[in-house]
Amino acid sequence: MLEIKDLHVYYGAIHAIKGISLAVNDGEIVTLIGANGAGKTTTLRTASGLEKPASGTILLDGKDITNTSAQERVRMGISHVPEGRRIFPNLTVLENLELGAYLRKDKDGIARDLKMVYERFPILSDRKKQAAGTLSGGEQQMLAIGRALMSRPKILFLDEPSMGLAPLLVQEIFDIIKDINREGTTILLVEQNASKALQIANHAYVMETGNIVLSGTGAELMQSDEVKKAYLGG
């Protein structure tokens, strides 16, 4: 589905991503874990077209999308739930969801997907007329995910979906991610909550200061001494 090859990204003079390669296969959940500042978010932002890489290639279904716009990538099936949710606070819940389907023209399909989002997140249906900024953190995260699903993505990028949420909600969000994946959407997940992420991941990559230092199946990495020591608290 998604393949990144030898990607380099700079922020000004800072070499944020130093030649990483990774692959996400159809139907998988792949996770990217690592400390703050390791380059996880930059990797996602570059893959969805918000940042331009200095070199390297990004392939979607075998097609080179390195030089396409973010807009084009949405059209091709990438949807990205950014770090910090980034919902539109002054728009209503419904307007936020409608913007998720911005590039779609199939009115019936949009209506059907809207219903599906409401079924998955009933709280959003209750609050559809409310300004999105008035929602709680967990509800905003649900809205951000719901909005991303409205473009009917082939692959969904999730950046720290559990950040700032109560433990109970964290579990709920991870269950939702598993559900979405089971229904056929490939997922690339960036998380600080390494143990939770590794539990649901088919494949995982560990990033450190712009490099991928370790990769393997979720289960393998859970057993790795390095990962245990650095990210799983012993």
Binding site: S48, G49, L50, S69, A70, Q71, V74, R75, S79, H80, P82, R86, I87, F88, P89, N90, L91, E95, E98, L99, G100, Y102, L103, R147, A148, S151
Partner: protein, 294 residues
Amino acid sequence: MEQFLQQIINGISLGSIYALIALGYTMVYGIIKLINFAHGDIYMVGAYVGYFCMTFLKLGFLPSLLIAMVFCTLLGVTVEKIAYKPLRDSTRIAVLITAIGASLFIEYGTMFFVKAGVRSYPDMTGLLVKQFRFGDIVLTMQQIIIVITTVLLMILLQFIVKKTKIGKAMRAVSMDKDAARLMGINVDSTISFTFAIGSALAGAAGVLVGIYYNSINPLMGIMPGLKAFVAAVFGGIGIIPGAMIGGYIIGTIEVLVSGYGNSMYRDAVVFAILILILIVRPAGLLGKNTREKV
């Protein structure tokens, strides 16, 4: 009392023009955080286009208004494309200085083509010169046309911003450009569209001022531009209803100061209001005082 009502009528007419210009300031500020100093000059160009349409092409008010709006739309979008778009990732001060440059360029470019002198709109005829008297109060047809045109344009604007897809895109881009990109919104064309609408409104204001005050000149955009900017700040910069309210309030205050006080002070009073609002309520009448996010 009658004099007061007369002043209010005059104030609302002038306020309509400020409100139309203020809308462009506020929309552009809302979407790219730029005080577009060239905006008052777009209004001036609108007045000239209306003048040429009426004087040389002998067109009526409505066709002249539409042609001026289209011309200003194209001009506004062109200025954005040439002057501001290449600076999208630059500091705000760089774009601001560019805006001042664009303003001077339009002013003196226009002067090159139409000469510096004052020109007069042709004498209005027919319906346009009708007057209605209520005792000592005079309501002219021009004033009615100004207010009706302004209100219709505002309703149209509200409809575009609230109900249409591009309007939603505008609001999304003004809140969060990256998130808007992730929705598949083309941020550049949305910004262009915002300049287009703002410039069309300024062009309309130019023609309205032409039929109201009659005389136009290449530097006529400076003062109303600044006052409309004050109106936008007064209402809360970036907030569309704020610009409308601000325009009417600033217009009315200015007329009242000329009518009751001393017309020498009318500009000073407007700018005193700017200073006052920046001290007392910097976010403006409808703005929420939010702290800059860190």
